[in-house]
Each structure stands twice: as C-alpha cells, then as structure tokens.
C-alpha cells in the first residue's frame, strides 16, 4: 500500500541527502551539506518525535509556578518525547543537540524550552534561561515552515521544524543545532 499522501513527511532537503558520511572539505560546501543534513534529520525527526506528547507533557501546574520546584511534566509523555529526541540525535554523525520549544501562553512572542535531548541546543539556550524572545527562524517554524538560523559569530547552525500534533496543529517547534566547527560543547 502506498503511504497516504496526507501522511507523507515534508521534504526539506535535496532528495538523497545522507544523515551520515563524510562532509565536503571546502568550507561553504561543508556548511551547505551540514544544513541539508539537519533538514533531512528534521524530516526524519517528525516521524520519531511525538507532537501529541509535546503538546501535553507539561502539566498545567507548571504554569502556576509557586517555586521553581513546581515545574512538572507528565512523566510518561515527557519520557516518550525525550526518548525521541535522544534517538534522533543518534541518527546523524553530526554532534546534534535537540530541543523542543513551546510558546509561552502568558508571554506573547516568547518561546520556552520545553525539553532538551542530550544537551541544550546552544545557539539560543543559556544556563537556567529557557524563556527567550522568539527568533524569526523559530517564529517561521511556528507558522508551519522550517526556519534556519546561523549565529552572528558563525559558530552555530540551527534548524527549526514545525512539530504538529494529530490534528496537524503546530503545537511546538523542534530545534536541531550543531556547531559548524564540529565541536561538542560542554553539556550544561
């Protein structure tokens, strides 16, 4: 049976883009290959990372923070979501950091890191600072189109992919982040 057309995952990278393997030596070609690889990984991630879990894993009590210790997940949904992130990271030989962002309902224009994979996506996340003004590339993803952001110093590359739930509503954004230098920054 062919896959139903409405169940295909979008193709953002050139067809045949590999997730693993050597990258070009020349810098610009290398950067373009890394971007293509992240876009392809994002496509695969949509099949692995559960948008339903992203929508529901944060418990309502977290939004009435009495203290920082009141941040609260639904453990099963959170574990399912994180399991997806950790496995996505392992599908590529890039040192990819993943994270899922949600919109802060109480702060228009602000995005909040909902959950990270093995380490924080470092372009936009600082230690213990998870709510940030939404960058344009992330905003674009919340509008349904993938976004790409390169840090001003040229070090970080992030791809933001819309993460829909079962109703095809964009409920979160998946970030895949790598260092162009190929380094693995310390995990915070």
């Amino acid at each position: 049976m062919p896959v139903l057309a409405n169940r295909r995952y979008p193709q953002w990278a050139p067809p045949g883009t590999p997730l693993i393997g050597p990258l070009p030596e020349e810098e610009q070609a290398r950067r373009e290959a890394m971007l293509a690889r992240l876009l392809e990984l994002a496509r695969v991630a949509l099949a692995v990372v559960d948008g339903e879990a992203a929508r529901d894993c944060l418990r309502p009590t977290s939004r009435v923070a009495i203290s920082p210790d009141d941040y609260e997940y639904d453990a099963d949904l959170c574990n399912g979501l994180r399991r997806g992130l950790l496995r996505v990271e392992r599908l590529s030989d890039l040192e990819v950091q993943t994270g899922v962002w949600r919109l802060r309902p109480d702060q228009p224009g602000v995005a909040d890191l909902l959950l990270a994979g093995k380490g924080y996506p470092r372009q936009f996340v600082r230690w213990n600072e998870y709510a940030i003004p939404m960058p344009p590339a992330m905003h674009q993803a919340f509008q349904g189109e993938p976004g790409v952001a390169v840090s001003q110093d040229g070090r970080w590359l992030s791809v933001f992919a819309p993460l829909p739930d079962s109703l095809d509503d964009i409920v979160a954004v998946l970030e895949l982040c790598v260092s162009f230098r190929g380094e693995l920054p310390p995990v915070l």
Binding site: S67, D69, Y71, R83, R87, K118, G119, V187, L188
Partner: protein
Amino acid sequence: MPLRILSDRVRTSPETGEVIPRDRPTSEAARALEARFAEQPAVRVARGGVASFQVIVSRERPGDGAEAVPRVSGFRGAGGALLEARVCYQWPCRIGEQEWTYEVLVPEEVYRSALAEARGGPLGPRRHHGFWVDVPVPRDAEPGSYQGQVEVAGADPATVRLEVLPIELPLTPRITVDLNSYADHIAAHHPGLSQGELVACETSYYREAHDHRAVLHYLPYGHAGEVADGYAPPLAGRGRHLRVADWAEYDQRFGPLFDGSAMAGSPGGERPIPHWYLPVNLDWPADYAYFGTRGYDHEFAQVLAEFRCHIQEKRWTQTNFEVFLNHKKRYRYFPYDGDERKHQADREIFRHFRSLVDRAAAIAGAAGAQARILFRTDISWSFAHDARDDQIGPLFDLWVIGLGNFTWSRAGVEVILARNQLAWWYGGGSGPDAPTMDSDRVALLCWRRGGDGFMPHWLCMAGDEALDRAEPLSLLYPGRRFGYERALGSIRLRRYRIATETTDMLEMLGERGRRLVDELTGATDDDWWTPTPAWALWPPETMDNDMYGLQPLADPLSRCDPQTPAVIRERAVEALLAG
C-alpha cells in the same frame, strides 16, 4: 607592638591589625578565656587534633607580607618530643564596601615564593600582616606541656605553650562537615593543566578538605546526566552485555582516596575518604533513551553490581559510595525531581531506583556485600511526610535535609536515626562577615540535635577572583595566582575542623555533654527544635517559599555570645580530664 599572638577564635583587620569588633567576646566566661590567652598564649589540644593560633606582625612601614613571615619553632615537650608547626599567610579580603578581613590561608612557603605582584594582594603594601599557625598533634604524642617560639625580625620573640591532653580524638569525626561541589569546577579554576597535573590538583582539594576533618563531595555529573571526564570507568556493550570495560584509570585516579593512601600523614586522620558520589544517575550507566525498559534496569543494576564487587575486591570498604539522583525537572531534561522533590508523583522514582540498588546487591552477592553503597536523598518540601512514611522512609540510607525542615521536624529526624539512617542537613553556613566562631555554632547545633553531619553551603569552591572578596559560599580556593596549582584552605575551614574536635569531645561525654551545652546556653532539650508548623504536613504541592521564610528556626546558641562554643569546648575538656 610589632608581634602579637592571638587565639584562633578571632579575625583581625588587615588595615588596623586590630580584632574585628564582632569577634570581641561579650560574655564573662569568653572574656576570661581571651584574657588568659593574652596573658600567656596557650592552646589545649587532644591527640589527633591540631593546635592553632595566630601571629599578627605590624611593621613600621607598609611592605610586602613576605618580609613579615615569622619563624615558628617546633614545639618541644618534656621528653624532647617535637611537634612541627605550619604557618600560613592570611590573605586579605573585602567584606561589603567598607570592611576588610582575612579568610583564605596561603602556606607561607607558597606565598613567599610567589611573584611580587601576586603577593601584593588587593590592599597592596600594608603595615599589618596576619599569619595562621597550625601544630598537628599525632595520636601517639605524649600528653603534657610543649613550648615553641615565634620570632620575627625587630621584635622580641614570643612563647606559645601547647597542652597536649590525655584525650585521643576518634579517627572519624562524629559530625561530618560536608563540602559540596560539582565537577568540573576544579578544571575550570585551574585551566591548562595536563591530565596528570589536573589529577594532582584535584587530589589536593580532597586532601585539603580531609586535613580539616571535612569531606569534599564532588558531584561528578551534570543535570543532563553526563559524567565528568574520568569520573566513571568506560563501559562496553549494551543491554545484558553492558560491562565496565576497564577499571585501570579509575583505580589509578581515585584508588588512593578510597584506600587512604592519599591521606597519609593527614592531620585529619589517616583514613580513606568517608563519602563519595558515584557517577550513577538517570543517564549513567543505563541509557535514558531506554528508560522504562528491562534493558535499562538491567544495565543499571549490572554495572552497580560491578562497582560493588570491585570495591570489595580492592578493599575500599570504609568509604560510603553514594547513589544520588540530583536531577531536576526545571532544567528540562527529566520528568522527575531526584533532588528536592515536591510532587507526590516523583516519589515513585525512588522506589524504583531503590529496587535497582537492591537488585545490584543481589547480583553481586557475597562478592560485593562488604561494599558500602548508600542511597541518598536531598530533601526539604516533603521531608516531614517522607521521613515517617512506612514506604518511602526506609528507602534511603542518607538524608540530607534542608536546615529548616530538619529544625522543625524533630519527629522525622528521630525516626531516621532510629532506622540507623544518616541525618545531615544542608544550609546554615555563614560567610567571613559573620563572627569567626559562627562555624562552631553550626557544628555544635548539629551535634546537639543528634545529627550526623551538615553541608554548610551548596558550593564550596570559588574561583580566583573570590580570594579578594570573601566568597560567602566557598571554603576552598585555587592557589593558581601564587603559581600553586593546588587547593587553599580558609579560616572557616579551620574553624570547622576545630568545631568537630569539640563535638567529638562532647560526644565522649555523652549525656553529660548535652547537659553541659544546655547549661552554657541556658537551653532546655526542646529549645533546640522548632515546633512542627501545621503546613509542614500539608501536601507539599501546596507549600511555597514564603512559608519557609516566615518560619523561625530554634537555635539557643545564636542567642549567646558568638564565642560561647569556645567556652563549651573548654568546659568539655575540663569534664573529660575530671573523668
């Protein structure tokens, strides 16, 4: 007066050379102690302890402290026995905007050999320089009177007398002073070292803590569960095939701490490090991508069982190896608060991991039965509930309890102690801006309440910049600016050591010790505890920080002259000598 001998109970001002006003005793008994010391400097010290005093050198013109270093002779006893003295330079630090005092202690040979610009310090050339002198007393030292001389150019020498008491301190203090920190602060404070140099530097931190009868507790993993380089042995395989691949580097790096050889000659006792965080956490050794599966549980238990067997094989059986889950939901990695749990749902994780700890013990069997593996919890919100809960309470071997919760949950503490679990608290430590003997107050408070230890601050290591500004949290500092890639101690760390000597002597007195403390503080047994507030038994989800802030903490010592612990110590010595 160019040379003065002061007791170990006060700090002075590097600007005036005078005792800081808050350190001047106010009670008659404490004033008498100081007056007696001023008349004839003398220190009473138990065998296995360390006698300390201070030398203040005031020169006519401002200058470099290296020119003021006193020569302190050995201390000679009646039979010709000799006790060696160790001199440290007191480093000036700023408190607030106005005040200067001393906190960090630099071995005088390190200070003298440092570059001149490093020696200058934040105040530059000064007239007044402080020195801290320690005289470790071996366990086999002959009791009696010992005498030593302090000399500095241009001043009459001063004589200091030590009275070595016919009392021997226990090798392991009754109260554990726990210095918490996180990997990899040491590498961050000593950048650029080779791996070998870094390990030697790291060992110096453990040793510095141990020399003061404290323990450096260095959490080897971050919030995501990633383990600091070298703090776990490499693994190979997965699932039922997961094994420790090679113990060699782990053993070489940490074995000397666990077999005690790293503590050879330590005035804190020649014994292994008493407590150690294992690298075990939600993401090591088991892979969190498989959490909730049979494979995850097997990986966790199997590797922990290997630790058990290895510990026993190596005879590292005096160290308490701790399984501690420090993860917090707020850091966006895990859905559980292993640390400071507040929500009832988080309790389940502890049942599960206790079962895995027990499963590891079963796998190891007799080959690992002598290993001391403790399941530790750090707790506040839910303490009053969990300590007395028949299901949750028995899960833990070591409870590290918020000071407030400890203070207002006497029944909880007592039930822990009745189960032979360890009860520590965290918090309550003060900075160099507090009276010098405030550290003693905390240790005495812990002992009087029957606690086993305390963690005065959550982070005991500061960076280089903190040397000049008296970081309130820190008790250990990097010696890097002096060309010394080792740990430096501090006056508060010295006080904690002295305080554990006091609590050990009180422990020897048992009930008489408790009565003595009550008598000298004017307290009754109940005065050491705060009655349990009604909200402490509410569902923890409903509690907030304001409740904590508004709750007074009982502490009879805080009502007394800050030098009262010195009076208690003196009276304890007299009671022990009287038999």
